[in-house]
């Protein structure tokens, strides 16, 4: 009789562990999948930049610093480790450099009239909004995953199979160095 009760308890625990484990695996795959969505868009953006730099060079070759800043930012983004935080800060730097370049290009009517430049600008804007959408989805799935592995009693299963929390797609520097305002 006692053995029977023990068996039932063991079976219930086994079923619970199995279900919890499967749920965690599903959520972890969701996180990976949403991360790859961001990754695809980031890569796409990096691929667009050499063309952009070439086009701008043709019209505004002496805007050296701005062009170089974009190239440098792109190279460091290519070299950045594949962690969300590193990718996010590389992405921020690139966004800043690009903004600078586009602001300068306002002064060159010929460049702005160039069909290739306009479509590149469109593509970039599109990719940027897609990165924003993908970030949102990634943030949602990370939040769900992190909550799931912290919750009682799933937390034991998560510990047992060493599921660890995932990072959000946020730049380290930007979060730590709050902008300083001086009067």
């Amino acid at each position: 009789m006692n053995l029977f009760i023990v068996l039932i308890v063991v079976a219930v625990i086994a079923v619970f562990v199995g279900l919890a484990y499967n749920g965690l695996v599903r959520r972890r795959n969701d996180v990976d999948n949403s991360w790859s969505q961001i990754d695809v868009q980031l890569k796409r953006r990096l691929d667009l930049i050499p063309n952009l730099v070439e086009t701008v060079k043709g019209y505004a070759a002496h805007e050296r610093t701005a062009l170089e800043a974009v190239v440098v930012a792109r190279n460091s983004a290519m070299a950045a480790p594949a962690t969300p935080a590193a990718q996010a800060s590389a992405d921020n730097a690139l966004t800043g450099a690009l903004r600078q370049l586009f602001a300068l290009s306002e002064a060159y009517p010929d460049l702005k009239a160039n069909q290739g430049f306009v479509s590149l600008q469109d593509e970039l804007a599109n990719t940027e909004s897609r990165i924003a959408y993908a970030r949102q989805f990634y943030g949602d799935s990370v939040a769900t995953f992190n909550t799931a592995i912290q919750k009682f009693p799933t937390v034991f299963v998560a510990k047992m199979f060493s599921f660890t929390e995932r990072e959000f797609f946020e730049a380290e520097d930007a979060a730590r160095n709050a902008p300083q305002v001086k009067f």
Binding site: A134, F137, S141
Partner: protein
Amino acid sequence: MNDLISSNKRRTVFLMLGFVIIVVLVGASVGSLIGNSTTGTILAVVLSGVFAFVSYWKSDAVALRVSRAVPADPNEYKRLHNLVEGLCIASGLPKPRVFVIHDDAPNAFATGRNPQHAAIAVTTGLLEKMNRVELEGVLAHELSHIRNYDILVSTLAVTLVGSIALITDITIRTMWWNGGRVSRGNDRQNGVNPLALIGFAMLILAPILAKLMQAAISRKRETLADVSACQITRYPPGLIAALEKLQADTTTTHSASMATAHMWIEQPLSGVKDSGRLGSLHKLFNTHPPLAERIALLREV
């Protein structure tokens, strides 16, 4: 969220069962009116079974065809495609097929049987009248219908409710057209067949029942989709502005029919006589909650 999806799948099963039962009852009553109830019933069972099965696989095509939707050209409607793709990334859905309907009234609907086989259709009027954030709100509303499996229920309702209306219509018309011949069986017996009377009542009641079913399915879903649309866009004012524009616009969506009424984001056929003496009765048959109510609810989000 998952509760919502499984509840929608349950509803689908109920809808199909309800449909089969109603059709069988109608078939039996038609049969008893003609004087051969067994044949009528068997025919109805077979017909409704086949119909329900075909509906599951093909009703999205029917809904699109009925609304005269054409596939949206990726170059001509680039903005639309871009928005849909972006929102799909944000909500983790596969990209649905995108259709446009040449109609000046701003409106939109989603259809399909699951997120992998889904389609979104918008009118050209919507594309003209809405700005980016508003259009985004509307598309997110439709995508939430897809994610919640509302599309499965509502699209099935199109063909199922439509076919009930069709069957009863045909029978009633045939009876008029055939004159006395239909009730010859009763004449011989020299009395009123009570079954035939019930049958006749059924014929009249069936389309009303079907309409009620249609209304019950969709009203709550609309508000839910509004709320989850804001979860996708993170910007409730967009959808609020869009709904306000829809409210201000009085054009009737010509591409909508009675059968597809419940699928659109805004009730396409203007709700006549919503106020007044029979107002509450009419509201029972409305497929959508009033836009003012939906806007008020979104303001609280």
